[in-house]
């Protein structure tokens, strides 16, 4: 049963005390869970990288160093704070929150658990009330995700700009360009999912995928949107190898060079919180959210939670793996990748899916017609790509010639 994007909690009677309690509880738990998972994630990141480098990694703060992030946090909290005299003080103070708050908010729309087994409706029953295990399920859930991830750019941009020094400024320029351009690829990749699901509600999207792997967005949309989404997310998150914004070797610390103490900790936290939330979004969109094999014993929402956490864990580990392996591309190469490959590819793929869907609707659902239309689309995409490549090469040549004229 599909609730058309509304939490069943709010169906029926007007607000009761229990409802308020449940909502409050959900907010608190989501917040605490996120903070704890960020803590664990940072620890896991450092441990995993250490393991890849044959080291031990943090081991002195708590058992296996599991309290390492806590120690970092406390230390930063009790460190002297500084606002550079050259900075724009109000913006300087505001920027970290611009970064952190969206990261928290995005997590609100992610369905974390619930009965997402095949045939389940993704709900749980708490205190006699049926509800979703997510803080909110607005009709525009996916748009909300996009909006919030865009606002997060402001945090980084303003931080760099307001610091009043050169390296952070370069960092913030990079950030705005990089994020704006990858936002486009991100959005286009999302459209493929939306086309297939026909809804913007995250809960519904997750619910539609509960029929097994063949129902997952990954398969339904044909892998390509996922790959684009994944790369764009990496860039959006400033996660290595696309961490150009703070590229230590080039820009010292990038946008947060001038930040210290708790403000830096907020950036630090926001960055890693974003990794978790975007992984969660990715799991929701392409990997069926909390769906999976549900054993018959135990509460269904718990299995949902376990599936969800497991999937997110794999994703964040992949991010760490990339961090430990890949060299960092150059700024212009990153932009090239975004504009010249990902955006056209995403656009083409959306067209392909849309065409196939329309043919489906018109009754050419099977057989040679579909193959034909697919072939036509592929040829069109290839032709488009070839034209683009020609244009790029021409432009390159022209620039080189101009450069030669100017610089000899």
């Amino acid at each position: 049963m599909i609730f058309s994007g509304l939490d069943p909690l709010f169906l029926g009677d007007a607000g009761t005390f229990e409802m308020l309690l449940i909502v409050l509880l959900k907010v608190l738990v989501a917040f605490a869970l996120l903070l704890v998972s960020v803590m664990l994630y940072i620890w896991w990141m450092r441990k995993f990288i250490s393991a890849m480098q044959n080291r031990i990694g943090p081991s002195r703060a708590g058992p296996f160093g599991i309290l390492q992030t806590l120690a970092d946090g406390i230390k930063l909290f009790f460190k002297e704070d500084l606002i550079p005299s050259k900075s724009d003080k109000f913006v300087f103070k505001l920027a970290p929150f611009f970064s952190l708050v969206p990261a928290l908010l995005v997590f609100c729309v992610v369905p974390v658990a619930g009965d997402f087994s095949s045939g389940g409706d993704g709900t749980v029953t708490w205190f006699g009330n049926e509800t979703f295990v997510q803080v909110a399920d607005p009709h525009v859930g996916i748009l909300f995700v996009l909006a919030m991830s865009s606002i997060a750019v402001y945090g980084i941009m303003l931080a760099g700009w307001s610091s009043g020094s050169k390296y952070p400024l370069l960092g913030s320029v990079r950030a705005s360009a990089q994020m704006v351009s990858y936002e486009a690829a991100l959005g286009l990749a999302l459209i493929a999912v939306l086309l297939k699901s026909g809804t913007l509600s995250t809960h519904d999207i997750a619910l539609q995928q509960n029929g097994g792997i063949t129902d997952w967005g990954l398969v339904v949309t044909g892998f390509v949107p996922f790959i684009i989404f994944f790369i764009a997310t990496t860039a959006e998150l400033n996660s290595p190898p696309f961490d150009l914004v703070e590229a230590e070797q080039e820009l010292v610390g990038g946008f947060h060079t001038e930040y210290s103490s708790i403000r830096f900790a907020l950036f630090f936290m926001a960055e890693f919180m974003n990794v978790i939330t975007m992984s969660a979004v990715m799991v929701t969109l392409f990997f069926g959210g909390p769906s999976g094999y549900y054993p018959s014993f135990g509460p269904a929402w718990l299995w949902g939670l376990l599936w969800f956490v497991g999937k997110v864990f794999i994703f964040v580990s992949v991010f760490v793996w990339m961090r430990g392996t890949l060299p960092r591309p150059r700024y212009d190469q990153l932009m090239d990748l975004g504009w010249k490959l990902l955006i056209p590819l995403a656009l083409g793929w959306v067209l392909l899916i849309a065409a196939l869907d329309i043919f489906d609707d018109r009754g050419f659902g099977s057989g040679p017609a579909q193959i034909l239309i697919a072939a036509i689309c592929v040829v069109a995409i290839l032709a488009f790509g070839a034209l683009l490549m020609i244009a790029i090469l021409k432009g390159q040549k022209k620039r080189e010639q101009e450069g030669e004229e100017v610089f000899g």
Binding site: N54, R55, G57, A61, F78, K79, D81, L82, Y259
Partner: protein
Amino acid sequence: MPNLPLLGDTSRVADEGLEGLDHNFLTGKIEDLVKWSRTRSMWPATFGLACCALEMMATGAAHYDLARWGMEVFRASPRQADLMIVAGRVSQKMAPILRQVYDQMMEPKWVISMGVCASSGGMFNNYALVQGVDQIVPVDVYAPGCPPGPETLMHAILQLHEKIESGEITSRRDQRDGGAGIIVEQRDGQTATQMILSQRK
């Protein structure tokens, strides 16, 4: 009334203000927690100068692994660093920059003078080098050797940790003029900051 519940001995409050308070249950624990966090998460600034810088990086690498104390986070920006390891010879030309970086670091901050060149000029007793970085910044621990091996550096770091854990954090700024020196009066029952590492687990 000298003894109050929760506040402990208050007889010195009249003379010393709040500084005269003993640590009670609450503040004592917080202080321990802060000290604990500072020793477990002491981010060094990347301040490599010469030979010692290689050993400093080797200490961070797989065979010695500073990450065990959460110290693999070498911060390029002095604003976020807690510890400056002066690794190498400090020339007269570099000295002002060294001081500037030190000033850019936020309190609390500590300095390890790594190697004899930083500590005293080492074998280069000449016009070009600053004969001891403690003329420029307050040094907490000196590591001998040219360059000190990774274990020597770790020993120095552990000494610093011990120093932090046994020192007090609240009243240190008065006693040294704003610098990073953290030699403070010891609390009752603690006479020496030295430790014997082999006895420590």
